[in-house]
Amino acid sequence: MVNPFQEFFAYTTSARELPLDHILARRDRVLQRLLQSYQAFVEEESTQLVWVVEQGALSRAYATAVDALKGVEFTVEDVEDMCVELDGANGIATPLGAPSGLFIAAMCNHVQNRDIVLNLRNLVRRWPFLGYRLPRGRHLQLEGDAGDFVGALLEGGEVTVTGNAGNYAGIGMRSGLLRIGYSSGKHTAEGMRGGTIRVQGRIAGMGRVKRGTVYEGNQRVFPAEKEGEWTGSR
């Protein structure tokens, strides 16, 4: 008697391994490492019972984040995935506002690539401190609206926000360039000590600026333009 399943019996096949599998495996591995680093950072910071945004706390938290990232090799795409992970309601990591923003800033400052593009339109949360201490030679482009303290303590890098910026944009920046596509919030350029801020739209309120240059549209608002002075930006 002929076996009706003969043809099926003889059939064998094996799935190919595609580069996609390696890409995804590497992505998962790096994301896992970044999440571990983030958890270590959060645990370290959680010992501080009250997290206050002040210079000492910021420097300490940033140093902790940088320490946590040591030994992890990641790309801009990994930074994007980490942002999505922190942003998602079902993410494994616990989002913590300012510390999370500092951690993302630390990642941007230590990623292999010099040009970083983060699409904030796809994120629900508005992380503060993006572009914090961005060093010279790096360009961070933030697509969409940024949160508070964008470009804080900028150290020669270039931050571009295509949408609006929150309050305290460019706070304490030392050098570099902060471009804001639309408008910025209150206390813009608070404690600024150098560099340039260019806001294409309106500035809701200026902070106490020490040095540097601030433009609102084509108008230089700090130092204030004198009558008939040519700023070269008109």
Binding site: L18, P19, R27
Partner: protein
Amino acid sequence: MDWQQVIDEVWPHVRRKHLWPELAPPQVGEIEAPVAMHMRDKQITLNRATCNTLAEHLPAASVIEALLDHGVSHYTRCPWDFATHLHLYATAKDELRRKSLAKLATDAFIDVVANTACVRDVPTPLPDVYRYLGGGALEGTLTALYSHIWGMDLQGSGDPALVRRLARIPYLDRQQWGQSLRRFVRLVQPLLEEEEGRQRPPQPLALGRHGLASYSPEEVGQGLQTFAQHVPDIQHFRETVQDFAEDLASLGFGRGSAAGLGQGVSVDADVLYYMQLAQTYRLPLYGLPMERSGTLEPYSHAPWEASKPVHDIDLWTSFGRLLPGVSQTWVRREGSIFGQREGTPDCLVVLDSSGSMRNPREQVSFAVLGAACAVEAYLRRDARVAVYNFSDARLDGKTVVPFGTDRQAIYQGLCLYHGGGTSLRLRDLEALRRTATSPTPDLLVLTDMQITNLEEVMEYLIGVEGRITVVHIGENAATEHFCQVTQHHPRLQVFAVQERQDIPSIVLGQVQRYFRPQARARRTGSGDRGRSSVLNPQCSAPS
């Protein structure tokens, strides 16, 4: 080139590779759109023009094998079924907000998944085809993506950064398709807009577009049911389904005698939503019980004796003689049934659509859904259904659908929303009730009980013949009062519906005396406790 002959030679090999999918043998034909193939009701048709173009660079057998691999992969891997297709489309639409772009994005994603799964699982010349397919920026980027994730140089063109990002999406993880599609759409959105800017509506992808036509009407019906169950609200369903209105209408999902079948010209997505959702619930419906007929009817024969009356003698079996012991007389018995089996009377659905009720076209109305489930139960048993949809009936705030079996008309009547005050005009209701073919039609009332003339309504319901099922939406003082007044009525059952999960608890045509034996059993500790829990404890204690 005799392409049909090539297909006939290659098709058994392709079927074998893909583990013998249940697809009709493919054919070759002329397709007006610039696509390589289309699938209609599980029949793949390859475009002769595309085959000729590709044959300039590749052997004919490879061209056919590659195209068939692509087509079969859509059937066996992604989108797999119509429900998945709708879910993917709804996700893309949610991101892009535009029908043409969402369709293109869904097609592109489905292509990437199907092609990648095919290249991974079976040996295929599919990548070679992509070397020679033209197209715009989107096609170029997708080809570059294939190069990246398949590890082959296919000469695609696309922004390397974009391709790197696209390559990090887990296309083959079915569980993550929704999330993956969102990421995919966000990344390719500028390319989609560019395609649309170049030509409106945008050109389909070179290997074909995916529409409803690929599925059989049964698959579409099943997909709509699944989709209706899983969408968060009626708006999502409407937004998605309206985009396929033309295709659905051509498949007969407009007006029809049955859910989703028959000829049609337009699609009311809201009606379709309730129609599909109601199919997923099966409310139990009790038939009318067998009863003694009250008349003596001839039942069997017995020998006639002289003392018995002669008028019962059956002449046909008595050999024409009147002799004791030879003649046969009829033995009469009382009839025990109305017919061969239990019957289902017609049903009059009385639906409150006043301002205090939900608008069924804005959010899921449990009253309409419950009524729809009941309608399905009656129509399944070949009974006829009438609808009396009312708000302030005294001021003509009412819609009447006479007794019938036109499902579309009944659903249209259910989905109407009047708003405003609530009063029931009992004279109208009684007039409608009397038009039923069955002498005592069932009455199904769905309301929140906030009726101006509630006392009159209660009096009417207590006096009316037939079985009455009352479903009250929500709890308030009026429902409590109603339950108290009607609690001893033997033919009236009240059910409370607070959430969608309560709907399957409704039992239609139930009368309390059916439960007497069970009630007795419960008292002795062996009753069906599950059954008792479905009844509204306030209202349905056995008398």
